[in-house]
């Protein structure tokens, strides 16, 4: 029995040591994984440092350039100096992650997850440490023992570095590269090149000049170019244009048209070289500020095209109106022998058979609005040869017009009074063939509900309330107060008893 127990204890100790080895392996793997995860993150994290270093190099070289001194270091050394703090920061950051302790749970967990052991190692390590074990715990330990070889020797998947290219910090790296490039563009070390003009001007080609360039160089004296640098800001566009015209005429003796890029009249200078359009190029003032072409001329109405289809179409579509017997304020007396029942609206409602008229077409309205547009909305309807609309609303009170609110022969109702506001007063529609306002359109807007902020209940520990919930007024009487008041009233009554 004792021997059996001893054997059992030895087996357990052997298993414990194996599990410790598994945990050690797991720790190493966790650290390796941390390095792989932390390294790209640290590289990104330290990009601002790179930017600052590059800025420093740029400032350093700019100072050298301004002072005219020569560079004391080689460019490669400067880059090394820039990278040194960056590398140091990355190293510190990665080391900080790596030296963090790895707990047993994480160590066993990474082995269990990597080898699909379903937490068998973690369970066995946990149950071995417990004082009392159940049959299922023993079975779990035995189960783990069977898979120890796998846990100790199987190859673990190597962790892959994860680089996030979407990080904003990459902007710092790009900025650092740009600053570095700018820094090395500064010509430090050559005295001739330190002149500002030499820095800003493009490099002059050292090869032989072309024929045109030779000619241009001969016309421009060197003294003039040195004493009077070009001042384009002080030149007016007209001056510029005139000089451009001269230049173009001078430099283009063959009269070949050439485009210039002036701010206004662009392209007109091209015609300056042409034999016929030479006058235009000579300092013609700009058109800006002038009234538009033809604005001062009397406005002539555009004549309608004889072949225009609109009147014919209208004539075709518009049925012959049957004037009713009712005058309805139009002043027409010829309707006396006509049907007095047929009103103007009912006659308009009549659509001759065979005439297919869509409900949404109303050419009369369109034409009127077009006519109003053409008149600019200023001139009266002289063209229509109709009397102007009366200002009289014609709402009754002895008015002979019939009180239809129309105020004239026009078809459109002009009533602006109460009658037009009162619901139930039928306002005839202007759409022909329909007594109602036309096809009803219902536009439904589909809008997705948007979330709004609302207070949420948060799970939190609440301590019992301390102190009074609130002050109450009037305060309840204490027993002492009650007795005192009672005695006072009793004494009052006793005095009253003595009175007659």
């Amino acid at each position: 029995m004792m021997r059996r127990r001893r054997l059992e204890r030895e087996r357990r100790e052997a298993l414990s040591s194996d599990l410790r080895a598994v945990a050690l392996r797991g720790r190493r793997h966790v650290r390796r994984r941390r390095v792989m995860e932390a390294f790209p993150a640290a590289l990104e994290w330290a990009f601002p440092l790179l930017f600052v270093s590059a800025g420093g190099i740029l400032a350093f070289r700019a100072v050298l350039w301004m002072s005219g001194a020569t560079a004391p270091f080689a460019p490669g050394l400067l880059v090394l100096v820039m990278l040194l703090p960056y590398a140091l920061a990355v190293t510190v950051r990665v080391a900080k992650e790596v030296i963090l302790p790895v707990e047993d749970d994480a160590a066993f967990g990474v082995i269990d997850r990597s080898l699909h052991l379903k937490d068998r190692m973690a369970a066995a390590a946990d149950f071995l440490e417990r004082d009392a074990t159940s049959p299922f715990m023993e079975a779990a330990i035995e189960d783990a023992r069977l898979r120890l070889d796998l846990a100790l020797h199987a190859e673990l998947p190597s962790p892959q570095p994860v680089v996030s290219m979407h990080s904003r910090r990459w902007g710092w790296a790009v900025g650092a590269a740009a600053l570095l490039a700018l820094a090395f563009l500064i010509p430090v070390g050559t005295k001739e090149a330190t002149h500002p003009a030499a820095f800003s001007a493009p490099v002059v080609a050292s090869g032989p000049l072309s024929k045109d360039e030779n000619e241009r160089g001969a016309k421009e004296t060197p003294a003039a170019t040195e004493k009077e640098p070009p001042r384009p800001a002080l030149r007016t566009p007209s001056m510029q244009r005139s000089s451009e015209g001269k230049e173009s005429s001078d430099s283009n003796p063959e009269g070949r048209p050439r485009r210039t890029m002036g701010p206004t009249k662009s392209g007109e200078a091209a015609r300056a070289g042409a034999p016929t359009g030479g006058a235009e190029a000579r300092g013609e003032p700009s058109d800006q500020g002038r009234p538009a072409k033809g604005a001062g001329k009397p406005k002539t109405r555009r004549p309608k095209r004889p072949g225009s289809e609109k009147p014919a179409k209208r004539a075709k579509k518009k049925p012959v109106e049957d004037p009713s017997g009712a005058t309805m304020g139009q002043g027409a007396s010829g309707g006396a022998n006509r049907n007095p029942v047929a009103s103007e609206w009912s006659s308009k409602d009549k659509v001759p058979p065979g005439v297919d008229q869509p409900a949404d077409e109303d050419e009369d309205v369109d034409d009127e609005s077009e006519a109003e547009k053409a008149r600019g909305g200023l001139q009266p309807h002289l063209r229509d040869r109709r009397p102007p609309p009366s200002r009289d609303l014609g709402v009754g009170f002895g008015n002979q017009s019939g009180g239809d609110g129309r105020g004239g022969p026009g078809q459109r109702k002009k009533s602006r009074g109460t009658a037009s506001l009162v619901l139930g007063v039928p306002i005839p529609d202007h759409v022909k063939g329909q007594v109602n306002p036309g096809t009803t359109k219902i536009t439904q807007e589909r809008v997705e509900p948007q979330p709004e902020d609302a207070p949420r209940s948060r799970a939190m520990k609440r301590d019992p309330r301390k102190g009074a919930a609130a002050s109450r007024w009037p305060r309840p009487w204490t027993p002492w107060t009650g007795r005192w008041v009672k005695r006072w009233f009793e004494s009052l009554r006793s005095k009253e008893k003595g009175r007659p």
Partner: protein, 338 residues
Amino acid sequence: MSREQSTVAEEAAAGFRAVHAKIKEQLHRAVVGQEAVIDGVLTALLAGGHVLLEGVPGLGKTLLVRSLGEAVDLPFSRIQFTPDMMPADIQGTNVLVETEGGGHELTFQKGPLVANIVLADEINRATPKTQSALLEAMQEKQITVGRRTLELTEPYCVMATQNPVEQEGTYPLPEAQLDRFLMKLVVGYPEETEYHEILDLTTGTEEARVEAVTNGEEIVAMRKVVRSVPVPRVVQSHAVRLVMGTQPGSQWAPAEVNEFVLLGSSPRGAQGLLLASKVRALLDGRFAVSADDVRAVAPDVLRHRVMVNFQGQAAGTSPDDVIASVLAAVKPPGGAVA
């Protein structure tokens, strides 16, 4: 000593798996496909919990529960819930009966709740008053009518169904009652191949017969086996963190939970996670629960315990989305493996 102990556990686990396989085989005689739902129902039965089945009509929910009652040879009763149903209709009531001597006496007439497997069909059609009559039966395994308290016999399992589409005229289950269900299983449509099997099975002359392969005592013993499966501390911590992850404001809650969740899971959710995980570990041939078991059962166990707030509903976030975000945020021990 330890060898003997482990042998006992291995035999118990093997017996558990054998009975489970037999029940499952019988269920597959009547129900085609729905593997996950069958596993979930059996898990709840063996873990000692109740199940809420959600699915449109005609997917075999009732057939599944009735077949389960036949396979485990337990008294089975079905309650079709309606809005006019009263608690006495399901619990039972005292009725006046005539005695042999010509007299009368009040006798307790048991309702359909007094059974071992209860199918509460369309539970959300009943009024809250009737729904709450189920609470005592589900949690305390007893019913009280007047002065009489009746102990319900183990194993006791309520399997309720509800239709997710017809919500008009229904009474959504209160949180207190939802929390008492171990799992909420979503029953989906069958696959195309399964349709052929269903049609062959149901439109022919032969009728699918489910035989009883176990009994109530064996189910109770299996429940004890489930309870004896140990849980390593690290796995228990993981289950706790998952449950805390569903609670807004907790340290394990991801941003989606803080934004979209009104109410997270209660500690009952953690209990449910571990019980269901134990069944899964046994069926997988292991003797201890792993974090993978906990993560696998988490959607079914936590789905009905997470309440999405208005913002979440407006954003179209479902409880399953919330649980997925919690599972992504709370890493298992050792972290996720690529």
